[in-house]
Point group: C2
Chain length 206, copies 2
């Protein structure tokens, strides 16, 4: 495509580098922004600057945070002996939106996937084991998207924690359809599946 | 929705203010940008700054430009006696992409629409008439999306230019379906419809 202005071209290039935004969509957005007064552009500039400079990763659970410890880990009303293990920040947001969970989180940063070359050492598994060993954790809720790789990851973590017999490992109920993605589940299904979580060892013995 | 970080929240708010981007899409984009190294964020910041500070409107045709005169109006290989009249910058980009047009443009900034309170005085019609009077213009190609409002606009302009008997007014061929939007037409259809443009006075006498 040819553009009459370098500014417009730059905007289209920058926006079409985002996922699910093609050249045509990027052009629509760029023209919308060009026609708008400065406000929307200023808000985007400020948001990008903030993402670059202010965004931190919680040193405990790896959630995005404004400080070293995220607002969930530092919330005194949260049960510290209940850890929900998830793949990504998106899953934390999805579970938080159900308003059914009062524990804290641990973000793995993905799941074990040999096909994509992701091994246990690429994920925040070591630090999860440390957390369980060093703190009084009663239960780990594995809120991992149900798939072969997800099941492998849960199995791997449960093996590592076999020595910690005082920790119960549960998985969220299979209300989430097999092969489905956690972040797209509706809030009711996701909320219920946390309530009726099943004991991991019981489930695999069925 | 609740976010663990103000930065993330700001990014979602700023991005969801754009057309066709809802909260969920904005969150996906924000998380993608948060997870990305600085590069994409920097490019977006620079693009927004450039849109704010560098983008100009061509003083001749109202196209977006980097200088006072856009690169189409200042191109010596363009036929200056052939003006294509369009609604918006998007239409210029669509026609330029056909690579079938060698004249220059005039962007009205919309079409006459009494229902939306847009009258001739809100559009760049006066300046179009001036351009035709002050320059040797042989033909005006009305590349206006075919609709009642579009036809009204063409009729209004043709009436204003009745005294300029040396100017031929044509419309792009009705290859573009009635009620359709110009910017979504494929390049072949749009290119051909410019080639086989019809004499406006002939068309309305049919």
């Amino acid at each position: 495509m040819k553009y009459s202005s370098k500014s417009l071209e730059k905007a289209v290039e920058a926006l079409s580098a985002l996922p699910s935004i093609g050249k045509k969509s990027a052009l629509r957005l760029a023209l919308h922004l060009a026609g708008n007064n400065g406000e929307k552009k200023d808000r985007i500039i400020e948001a990008m600057r903030s993402l670059k400079e202010d965004l931190k990763s919680c040193t405990v659970c790896y959630n995005y945070a404004d400080t070293d410890i995220c607002n969930i880990c530092s919330d005194p009303s949260r049960k510290k002996n209940l850890i929900c293990v998830v793949e990504t920040v998106k899953d934390v947001i999805a579970i938080e939106n159900t308003q059914q969970y009062s524990g804290i989180y641990h973000i793995l940063g993905g799941i074990i996937s040999p096909l994509e070359g992701i091994g246990p050492e690429d994920l925040n598994i070591e630090s999860l084991v440390q957390r369980v060993k060093e703190n009084e954790v009663e239960e780990l809720i594995m809120a991992i998207s149900p798939s072969i790789e997800g099941d492998t990851t849960i199995y791997y973590i449960s093996k590592l924690l076999e020595a910690q017999s005082n920790v119960k490992i549960s998985t969220i109920a299979r209300g989430v359809s097999f092969g489905g993605e956690l972040e797209y589940a509706d809030e009711l299904t996701l909320g219920r599946s946390i309530h009726s979580r099943t004991d991991y060892n019981k489930e695999i013995s069925l």
